[in-house]
């Protein structure tokens, strides 16, 4: 069974591009437009990896990350943060909250795919 990726961002075009890239890499893809929807989706069907935008309305990416990490049942879930804020402090905060990686926008599509593959071999 194919590994699943949850793409979370409030920018529809960015969601669209990531969805395209992840499908192309062979993952099952689901999407969410804000933090609340993301958590709901995680509860319904925990994905193997979340591509998580930080700045979103309602619950932001840090919040989602923290909530996911607080639940032992989702221990193996990988989280890669995406942010348009390039400051170091954001990266540190994200890593401290338990994210596996941190990618700054605008990103290179190849790099995103490569990073996701690194955490989640498509056919492992």
């Amino acid at each position: 069974m194919a590994r699943s990726v949850l793409v979370v961002d409030d920018e529809p075009n960015i969601v669209l591009s990531l969805e395209f890239l992840m499908r192309q890499a062979g993952y099952t893809v689901r999407v969410a437009r804000d933090g609340e929807a993301a958590l709901k989706s995680v509860e319904e069907d925990p994905p193997d990896l979340i591509l998580l935008d930080v700045m979103m309305p309602k619950r932001d990416g840090f919040d989602v990350c923290q909530t996911v990490r607080a639940n032992p049942a989702w221990k193996g879930m990988r989280i890669v943060l995406l942010t348009a804020k390039g400051r170091d402090i954001e990266r540190e905060k994200g890593m401290a909250l338990g994210a596996d990686d941190y990618i700054t926008k605008p990103f290179s599509t190849r790099e995103v795919v490569q990073r996701v593959k690194q955490y989640l071999p498509p056919d492992g």
Binding site: D10, G86, K105, P106, T109
Partner: protein, 913 residues
């Protein structure tokens, strides 16, 4: 019938009563239940100022000169009411330094100089002896008048009587005895003589009651009250003239008398003694400052009526006006009242003589005799075991000496002068102390040479201008000297120095003595330097309220405890010396028996004890004889004093600075907070801008790379992705433009194109731009803009920008299915209001002010994220406010929002430029 026997009995009885009171006062003091430790007794004791001169002489002066007797009482009143701070300072200084007399005060202030103390003493004795003799004369005259009762005859010259028949001699001797008994009980002259003070206060009551009784009897018993008395007086041209016209030199004379009496209330040795030395509690001054003037007022009430009654009753040559108080009751055959008058006069005279002799004897002993005796080595005084008995002996001897000297003066000279004139000569002598005292407590640079020069010059001038003429009047000197000056040169006649004429002798003397005194004091002080000790003393005196104690820090020497004890025993006797040292040890928790070397503190303590007994100057000499080492050098003292005053100044300034600093630092903190806030806002802004720029860029890059990496994508997908790239590029461009616009507006660098515009045209243009949006989402638009709107001056493009922004916002937020947007304009007051409303979710009360901030998008809770840059409303606000209007939103959540802005119609030309 008043026989001499009865009069003598009354007088003697009165004096016995005085002794009894003094004895009782001392007993109470010894028992620790002080009779005099209250402000009323203190104020009454100060009333020793009112002597026989007041009792008899005021009436005499009023009969001769009208109202000017009052000046003698106005001066002290002014001092007590207005210059109480001087008195308070003197009292404080004297307490701290255990000052025993006015001579001690001056000598202590100017470096504990024996020479200065001696000079002050000489001046005091020479100046005051006539004043004491005046009291003896008053007693003697009043007695001699009274014994002829009921005949009113003036006695002949006393000098024709054999001395042993003269009552004045016996009175003098009795008073000397009193002074010895109650004024020299202890060797420590700075201690209080409570019995004496009690007796003096009693005498003040007696003379006041006596004078008021006699005055009331004369005014209401002989005459029919004040109205009657003055009505009769006005009928007599001579008296009328006296009461209504002023003598030619009146004002100069008034000033002179006022200044003299102001100086006298402080500088007369007896006033100094009761006010300063006998002061039990500094706070008693607070009540005395009004009680004493009140006393003066009371005792003067009947002066004028009695004088007028006397003038009405007698011809001027018939009776000495000084005796009116006594002879008027005699004329009325009221022997009782006459006796009261006599006792009142006696009481006034005795009070003065007692205090004055005690004060003078302390000065003579401590500042004249002791320094000389201590200097004569062949007396081996410094080796005698107990000097306290010797000291007391000297003091008692000088009391007798002063009294006898006064008696002699009275026998030889007194007859030729009226009471008041003698008194004023003494006042002028005492006034010579004023510059050195006042300067000494307020001016640190006044020094001993200045004080010596001032006092010396003033005293010599006094002797020449006032004393010398009195000798002439007594027939001792050729009268020619008064007119031609010495040696017939004509330059320096004593009462018209350097041709200064037109003043009465007293004003003339006061002018010259004060001129040379103050001139020499200030001049010489400025030209010469102070010694180290003087500098210390000056500082101790002038800054008495700022410094705690005296300057023990300045003493570097050491002495053995045994030496100091021996010294004390010799001067104040063994029991009191032991007691004093025991007190000292107890206060500081020391065991003096084990202590070999005394520290500076103990040396200082012993010196002050000695100063209380023998005066500051002699005490210093004695201490120096047993203590090794010296006080510091002048340079060191100056350094410490300057350092001390600098430290005081510094700490004052520091306090001030630190307060200023606190204020400044609070301001700085606030400014810093604002800066940090601004910084944070700038940071946030940059971060937000960066985020806003990165977002479209991310889409553009992603789809660019996808298209690049996937050349085989079908045409539909390619078109979609390319469309996204184009849209996001447009978004990026719009964003960059808006950021630049906003930055320019905020920095005031926007290039505004102002012209006359019609709102209708502007609205039409804005609608043309947004028509597509409305059509695309099928939103109903309603526009209500009246045709008769006045033209406005505005930047046309910017106005379009505002309206377009508001319209596109409305489109964005209005109801998704049945969208409605309304635009209306109207003139309201002096402005045109443009409103754009929608039927969307509205803006909550909380968010309303925030929507005009940059990047403060208030998200629609239904859709995930509103489209737009988050800068539109911020830009609108910048534009509207630039043209003097304002923009705001009215909304209730769920019921749409209405954004309005105002355009002032008569936009002033100045704002447009």
């Amino acid at each position: 019938m008043l026989s001499p026997g009865i009069i003598l009995l009354a007088a003697f009885g009165y004096l016995c009563l005085l002794f009894a009171i003094a004895y009782y006062g001392d007993k109470r003091a010894d028992a620790g239940r002080s009779l005099v430790a209250n402000p009323y007794i203190y104020a009454l004791s100060i009333a020793v100022y009112c002597t026989a001169w007041t009792f008899f002489g005021s009436v005499g002066r009023a009969a001769a000169n009208g109202m000017d007797f009052l000046t003698i009482y106005l001066g002290p009143t002014l001092v007590f009411v207005l210059c109480w701070f001087i008195l308070r300072k003197i009292v404080r200084i004297s307490k701290v330094n255990r000052i025993t007399s006015i001579a001690d005060f001056i000598s202590a202030r100017y470096g504990k100089t024996q020479l200065l103390g001696g000079l002050v003493t000489v001046i005091a004795v020479v100046g005051i002896v006539p004043y004491i003799s005046l009291q003896l004369k008053a007693v003697s005259s009043s007695f001699n008048v009274l014994i002829h009762y009921p005949d009113v005859t003036m006695p002949g010259a006393v000098s024709t009587l054999p001395m042993f028949q003269d009552t004045a001699l016996y009175v003098a001797l009795i008073l000397a005895t009193f002074s010895i008994l109650f004024g020299t009980r202890h060797i420590d002259a700075s201690e209080h003589h409570e019995g004496m003070v009690a007796a003096i206060a009693f005498e003040s009551v007696v003379k006041l009651v006596a004078f008021l009784s006699v005055g009331a009897f004369i005014a209401f018993g002989i005459h029919d009250g004040f109205d009657d008395l003055f009505a009769k007086a006005m009928a007599e041209p001579e008296i009328r003239r006296l009461l209504t016209t002023a003598p030619a030199s009146a004002f100069g004379n008034w000033m002179t008398l006022m200044v003299l009496s102001m100086a006298a209330i402080v500088c007369l040795p007896r006033q100094w003694h009761v006010t300063v030395v006998e002061n039990v509690d500094e706070n008693h001054l607070d009540k005395a400052v009004w009680l004493f003037p009140l006393y003066l007022l009371l005792i003067n009430i009947f002066v004028l009526p009695v004088a007028v009654a006397g003038l009405l009753a007698f011809r001027p040559e018939q009776v000495d006006a000084d005796m009116y108080v006594l002879v008027l009751p005699m004329l009325a055959r009221q022997e009782g009242v006459a006796l009261i008058a006599f006792i009142g006069g006696l009481s006034a005279a005795t009070g003065m003589v007692i205090v004055e002799t005690v004060a003078l004897s302390t000065m003579v002993c401590n500042d004249l005799v002791m320094p000389v005796l201590l200097r004569w080595r062949w007396l081996r005084l410094t080796e005698r075991a107990d000097l306290s008995r010797l000291l007391l002996g000297i003091r008692r001897g000088s009391i007798v000496g002063v009294v006898l000297l006064s008696y002699l003066y009275f026998r030889l000279i007194g007859e030729s002068y009226a009471l008041v004139t003698i008194g004023l000569v003494s006042f002028t002598a005492a006034a010579q102390f004023a510059p050195a005292i006042i300067g000494g407590i307020f001016w640190k640079s006044g020094n001993r040479w200045g004080a010596l020069a001032g006092l010396g010059a003033g005293f010599l001038t006094w002797g020449y201008t006032l004393l010398l003429p009195s000798f002439v009047r007594s027939g001792w000197l050729d009268a020619e000297i008064l007119t031609a000056g010495p040696f017939g040169m004509g330059v320096l006649p004593p009462q018209a120095l350097f041709g200064l004429t037109g003043l009465d002798p007293l004003t003339h003397a006061l002018f010259w003595t004060m001129l040379v005194n103050v001139g020499a004091y200030i001049g010489v002080s400025l030209l010469t330097h102070q010694s180290a000790l003087e500098r210390i003393q000056a500082s101790t005196f002038v800054d008495v309220f700022r410094r705690g104690g005296a300057g023990q820090r300045f003493w570097r020497g050491t002495a053995t405890v045994a030496d100091l004890e021996a010294l004390l025993v010799r001067f104040i006797g063994a029991p009191r010396a032991r007691q004093a040292l025991a007190d000292y040890a107890r206060q500081r928790d020391l065991n003096l028996g084990k202590l070999n070397d005394a520290d500076a503190d103990l040396v200082q303590y012993v010196e002050r004890l000695l100063a209380g007994a023998i005066g500051a100057a002699s005490a210093r000499v004695m201490i120096a004889s047993v203590a090794k080492g010296e006080i510091m050098s002048l340079d060191e003292v100056m350094a410490i004093l300057d350092e001390a005053s600098q430290i005081i100044e510094y700490s004052r300034r520091l306090e001030q600075k630190s307060q200023e600093l606190e204020v400044t630092s609070a301001e700085l903190r606030a400014a810093n907070e604002r800066l940090k806030e601004l910084d944070r806002m700038k940071d946030d802004f940059i971060s937000t801008v960066s985020h806003e720029l990165r977002t479209p860029l991310t889409s553009i890059r992603s789809f660019g790379e996808i298209l690049f990496d996937n050349p085989t994508l079908d045409i539909e997908q390619r078109r979609e992705f390319l469309g996204i790239i184009v849209k996001e590029s447009e978004r990026l461009t719009r964003l960059i433009n808006q950021i630049l616009d906003l930055a320019k507006m905020e920095a005031g660098r926007m290039d505004w194109q102002i012209a006359k515009v019609e709102l209708k045209d502007v609205v039409a243009d804005a609608l043309a731009v947004t028509r597509g949006l409305f059509a695309e989402r099928q939103i109903r638009l309603e526009v209500r803009v009246p045709d008769d709107l006045p033209p406005i001056e505005y930047d046309r493009d910017r106005l379009i920008q505002v309206i377009v922004n508001l319209l596109s916002n409305a489109v964005k937020f209005c109801d998704a299915r049945e969208g409605f947007v309304g635009l209306e304009a109207a003139v309201e007051g002096g402005a045109m209001r443009v409103t754009v409303r929608d039927n969307g979710p509205g803006v909550s009360q909380l968010d309303q002010p925030r929507v005009f901030e940059r990047f403060q998008q208030v998200g629609n809770t239904m859709t995930a994220k509103p489209q737009g840059t988050g800068l539109g409303l911020a830009i609108c606000r910048q534009i509207v406010e630039r043209f003097g209007g304002r923009i705001w939103v009215e909304s209730e959540p769920g019921r749409g929002a209405a954004f309005s802005f105002l355009v002032p119609i008569r936009l002033v030309a100045a704002a447009a430029q």
